[in-house]
Symmetry: C2
Subunit: 347 residues, 2 copies
């Protein structure tokens, strides 16, 4: 379907989840790179480090001790960006100096007692435990808070300061910018087309097969048509699912399996533990639980920073910050050119 | 005016230029940092390097030789993300797979023949030459193109691969996301309040004096109330000016002076050549030249990546990418706590 024109020349693509455009320059990977080179991700991490505050049995910054956990372990972030009791700043009348109260909680969740594993290296049942705990936290925090953001910063390149496998869960009394925008876009699409945007999208990508990275009977992972990060992926259930807590037992098992396959491909791409930020977006919670959210479809975004190798990342800087996101290869080139992306076992 | 509440507890602030919110957590600077540490910016750069393709008289990647320039020097980017003749991709009817033609030009502009200077170290007259050239390029490319983005990526941390002082100018046949959003916000404000948003904003900040970094009779630089990057600044003329090409001779001289003062403060903050991405936003051009753009006010954004020191940057990752931008100190703390930010001579 894609003409040579699309593959070889710069063009714009529309992101219907953010109502914005990305500049796709198919030929920019060819330019020489004399810029900053990153340290490759650390590969030799001890299974247990007596000084790591995330390991079982160790003491954290606030003096509290971790239990001797053997599966997942959730605790309150010792330096939370959101706290439940922050006072209302009392807004200025001036439209140029508007503020609002921000309340919430920040939790940290260890995936596994061992520091030297990552999700793709964990057993499928262990990944299912992580998914069950995600669902539990969304259910629990979602009774009060309108938005529960599950996210994982993996690798030092992504601002993660601890190699122990973990993610964070920040719940807030407000709908943050990104989910608010996504909600608006999905709602408008649903009103116009009568079906959830991402349900239609998954069907079409499954037919086209031009951007599919991995798929199973329940799940699909694609480099979205509108990807901004070079190896960005979108992970979607095939069934209409509003929230992670709505997944069936089978779907959770399927999710663990497809996550392992997707993340193994990432690790194989440049033969390193692949850095990324990822997170889940599902229908809002709290007061929104009483509303119709049929326009929503659960999905995870994976945003990896690398571009050329384990040590050369994509810089989203000048033009991207001030004008528009720009990518240096097409999403189809990612699928067609990176053959190692197709290996399913960790090499 | 600012209550203790605003200064000490997390809250949200509204960005009227982007119609979005930022989470301000005043207390997050206290957390220990065991994460990635950057290489400090290079401080010993030779004035002339025979292998640097930006130096006068040297050969570039495409084999062309640079003239022996002694002021600014502009040339076409050898690996442009935008080219004038890209074909139309021909859009799919499907709303989920929309593409559009992208055409334009990418230019590189050297600020000075020497590699070992930066804008704050250049003579005022030399900075005026840079401003004049910016104005000339906006005028020239703006006859055809709706948007001319001037931007500078400074420092390896900001994806800049050449230490020679330079910026880029990318002109496009479309209004990119960021200026399109800014245009919408400024227009709505103007329609409601009858005065350009940023003209009112500059007046109020000049009165409040809580976030002013440097000011002069014609110009004002503030850490905006809604800043997302820790040391982000907004540089504004005090007069209503639509485009950089509309600046008078006196205003250009005043701009050169205030840029030197602002950038010297940045360099003194952590005692390194401060990395940043910066760029100019002014009223759109090309077909928009015929329209009323009274809602626009010329301004420059400075986005520096550092947070704690010359080697510890702010990571805009997981929560910021998936939910909302979050900062670890207030804009007022930047002004009040960073005393070195107040020094005007390079230390
Ligand atoms: O054009 P340069 O300096 O090679 O490249 C730099 O700036 C561009 C425009 O912001 C970015 O797209 C690149 O990722 C960055 O490395
Ligand atoms: O909470 P952490 O892991 O210390 O910090 C990391 O993730 C946060 C949430 O995305 C970011 O605000 C920080 O800049 C980043 O370093």
């Amino acid at each position: 379907h894609l003409s040579c024109v699309t593959l070889e020349h710069q063009h714009l693509r529309y992101n219907p989840l953010r109502d914005s455009w990305v500049l796709v320059s198919a030929h920019r990977m060819k330019r020489p790179w004399a810029g900053q080179v990153e340290r490759p991700p650390e590969e030799h991490i001890p299974r247990y480090d007596p000084n790591n505050p995330l390991c079982p049995g160790n003491k954290r910054a606030n003096g509290k001790g971790n239990p001797d956990y053997d599966s997942t372990f959730v605790f309150e972030n010792d330096f939370p960006a959101l706290q439940p009791d922050a006072p209302d700043p009392g807004s200025d009348q001036d439209p140029l100096f508007q503020s609002k109260a921000a309340r919430g909680v920040c939790k940290v969740m260890c995936f596994h007692p061992w520091s030297d594993v990552t999700l793709p290296l964990m057993k499928k049942e262990e990944v299912v435990n992580v998914i069950d705990k995600w669902a539990e936290l969304v259910e629990e925090l979602g009774t009060i808070y309108p938005w529960v953001q599950i996210f994982e910063n993996k690798g030092a390149m992504m601002g993660c300061s601890n190699p122990h496998p973990h993610c964070q869960v920040w719940a807030s009394n407000f709908l943050p910018n990104e989910p608010a925008l996504s909600d608006r876009c999905q709602r408008a699409y649903y009103e116009k087309h009568g079906e959830p945007m991402l349900l239609q999208y998954a069907k079409r990508e499954a037919e086209k097969k031009e951007r599919v990275v991995v798929e199973s009977s329940d799940w699909l992972a694609v480099v979205p048509y509108w990807a901004t990060w070079p190896y960005q992926t979108l992970l979607l259930p095939r069934r209409h699912v509003l929230r992670i807590s709505d997944l069936t037992t089978e779907e959770r098992e399927g999710l663990a399996a497809i996550m392992k396959r997707l993340l193994t491909k990432y690790d194989n791409l440049f033969e390193v533990s692949f850095p990324y930020s990822m997170g889940w977006h599902g229908a809002p919670t709290g007061p929104y639980l009483k509303e119709d959210n049929s326009h929503w479809q659960l999905h995870a975004h994976y945003y990896p920073p690398l571009l050329r190798s384990a040590t050369v990342k994509k810089f989203m800087v000048g033009y991207e910050m001030l004008a528009q996101e720009q990518r240096d290869l097409t999403p189809e080139q990612v699928i067609h050119l990176c053959t190692c992306f197709h290996t399913e076992q960790r090499t």
